[in-house]
Amino acid sequence: MNEYVRPDEAADSLAEVRRRQRQLIDAVLIPGWYWWVVAAAMIAIGLATDTRRSVVLAIVIPVAVAVIAALTGGMIFGAYRRARVRSSELLGAHGALSIVGFVWLVVGLTLGSGFALRAAGSSAPATIATVIGAAALVIGGPVLGRWLRQTMLANRAGIDR
């Protein structure tokens, strides 16, 4: 059969292979708005903490945490229900480590800034710290997403390595 397949047909088929794999990779990636919603919830926690009013804390913190948890859970399980990407093959250990590293970076930056600001006598340490963490999230999140996408695209089948 393959004597009858012209080179341009073979090239079209390879392009289709790559397009379909890109389609699956794009379907499981984190959308850009996710980072903004989580960042807003983080800042809400910071603002509530600095009011030091128990009523505000009792309302805002559970709601913000619930929003982050529901969104993250929905994102992970939603993507998992649609399709499970071959992460071991497409992403590798570097990809998984970069996700964990990014989460720790944002948490470390937020907590570190908060403690440093409080020690320096800031009047709103939690708000400023969460704004710093949120900024890291909305800048770094999409960068991480693009890097993960590029990594997965580079590791898919039909790519000359």
């Binding site: 059969m1 393959n2 397949v5 080179p7 073979a10 090239a11 088929s13 390879l14 289709e16 292979v17 790559r18 397009r19 379909r20 794999q21 389609q23 699956l24 990779i25 379907a27 229900r81 649609r82 399709a83 499970r84 990407v85 071959r86 992460s87 497409l90 997965m152 898919r156 089948a157 039909g158 000359d160």
Partner: protein, 106 residues
């Protein structure tokens, strides 16, 4: 290096789309494949059955609550056949490029 073997079963456009999609996944939901490849339920069922009969696809049927959910994945044989098919396509292009280079030199 992957051995090249052209696979007529995979090469059919609809099946190539399905298999390529599955090649990047461990498992994919039936509805997800149907929507991405833009097929009707019956057309996708037919193609998946053909691939399953060839031993290229594993079908998993489960219940989430009371709702039935069907997922598909490439079997080991299906993944190997897909990789060999991709290698065969690349070989066709490379041979054509080599022939063109040879003609240019003459």
């Amino acid at each position: 290096m992957t051995r090249a073997r052209f696979d007529e079963l995979i090469h059919a456009p609809t099946r190539l789309a399905i298999v390529s999609l599955l090649a990047a996944a461990d498992w994919a939901d039936f509805k997800f494949i149907r929507d991405e490849v833009r097929l009707s339920d019956s057309a996708l069922s037919k193609q998946l059955t053909t691939l399953e009969e060839a031993g290229y696809v594993d079908i998993r049927k489960a219940f989430v609550g009371k709702r039935p959910r069907t997922s598909a994945r490439l079997s080991r044989a299906g993944r190997a056949a897909f990789q060999m098919h991709v290698a065969a396509l690349q070989q066709i292009i490379e041979r054509s490029n080599s022939a063109a280079e040879l003609n240019t030199k003459r």
